[in-house]
């Protein structure tokens, strides 16, 4: 015990105090700069937060790799999809003419778009890889309108922080932060490899998010909601994925 001098006790106490204050300040700064994911609680929460924060700092504006047309996978893998509901089948029977996607929430001009309307906006295409949590991946050309363009049309309010998007299947919904929502490679995709987007790949309309795993690229999009907090959606974890044990942020 002779080692424990008063001086050591005081420095130790000060360091511990500074550490606690530093952690508190770090948490507050991280919250302020949007570095805390909605699923930050639980056993994996710390890991999720570190992944999300570090990737947001390192890769906010980076672009996913684009491939050459010769590298497109043939055939594009259409993974198994849950049985489509009656609402989908009705729209499919009508050739998706009546397919609508509504944009609501913190926007100046809430609007509903048909596929034909979306196709009047500047068309963009990207040849990127879709990689799934399960391990498979494929490269395809995705054709659509950048989500940022649609968000500009409706006019997002300054306090908006997330975009929640819904499939026609109500159990299937996801959300992304503004960094991803306004990213130039985030599309509302309606075409693939020069043609229409097949049903198995999410046709007629799929959100395409090449910097995250496939489950964030939700198929059969019918609704977008812009919001400043994800607390009121589902269990407040941000999307359906963390409710099922997956990560909300899937940049991996």
């Amino acid at each position: 015990m002779s080692d424990l001098s008063r001086r050591k006790l005081i420095t130790g106490g000060l360091v511990a105090g500074a550490g606690v204050l530093g952690l508190g300040a770090a948490a507050r700064i991280a919250q302020r700069y949007g570095l805390v994911p909605p699923d930050h609680g639980g056993i994996y929460g710390v890991g999720e937060t570190l992944t999300y924060a570090s990737q947001r700092l390192l890769t906010r504006h980076s672009l996913a790799r684009e491939f050459s047309p010769s590298q497109i996978s043939k055939p594009p893998l259409a993974n198994e999809i849950p049985p489509l509901n009656d609402a989908y089948k009705r729209l499919q029977a009508g050739g998706f003419v009546d397919w609508r996607v509504s944009v609501t929430g913190m926007v100046e001009r809430p609007a509903t778009f048909s596929l034909a309307q979306l196709k009047t906006y500047p068309m963009r295409s990207q040849i990127t890889q879709l990689a799934c949590e399960e391990g498979w991946s494929y490269i395809a050309e995705w054709i659509g309108v950048p989500l940022s363009h649609v968000l500009n049309v409706v006019g997002i309010r300054p306090q908006a922080r997330y975009v929640v998007y819904y499939s026609i299947d109500p159990d299937w919904w996801e959300s992304i932060d503004m960094a991803d929502a306004l990213h130039p490679q985030t599309f509302l995709a309606y075409g693939m490899n020069g043609g229409e987007l097949p049903v198995g790949n999410g046709g007629p309309l799929r959100l395409r998010l090449p910097r995250q795993l496939g489950y964030k690229s939700v198929k059969f999009i019918t609704q977008l909601t812009v919001c400043d907090s994800l607390k009121g959606f589902g269990k407040g974890l941000g999307s359906a994925a963390p409710e099922g044990g997956y990560a909300w942020y899937a940049g991996i």
């Binding site: 990737q55 390192l58 890769t59 980076s62 672009l63 996913a64 790799r65 890889q129 990689a131 391990g135 991946s137 090449p210 910097r211 995250q212 795993l213 899937a250 940049g251 991996i252």
Partner: protein, 79 residues
């Protein structure tokens, strides 16, 4: 093995690769990184198992005592 497992792991990160594409292109694509990552992880598990077996063969309790106390009890080893 550890640097390799970290490298191949990062090569499968879509966001990381978007910022540092060389991590995956040097490995020959995401699926190659995935295959390498799998086998490297198997080797790491084998590495742990082999070393645990070595500890057991060399005398489990004396090793444990040596690890915790920092002293080697020589009288048992000598006999």
């Amino acid at each position: 093995l550890f640097p390799l497992v970290i490298w191949t792991g990062l090569a499968m990160s879509l966001a990381f690769v978007s910022a540092f594409p060389a991590t995956v292109t040097l490995l020959g694509g995401q699926q190659s990184a995935r295959t390498l990552h799998f086998f490297v992880s198997v080797f790491l598990v084998l590495f742990v198992l082999v070393h645990v077996v070595m500890v057991i063969v060399a005398g489990f309790w004396s090793r444990m005592r040596a690890m915790i106390t920092g002293r080697m009890s020589t009288h048992k080893e000598g006999t």
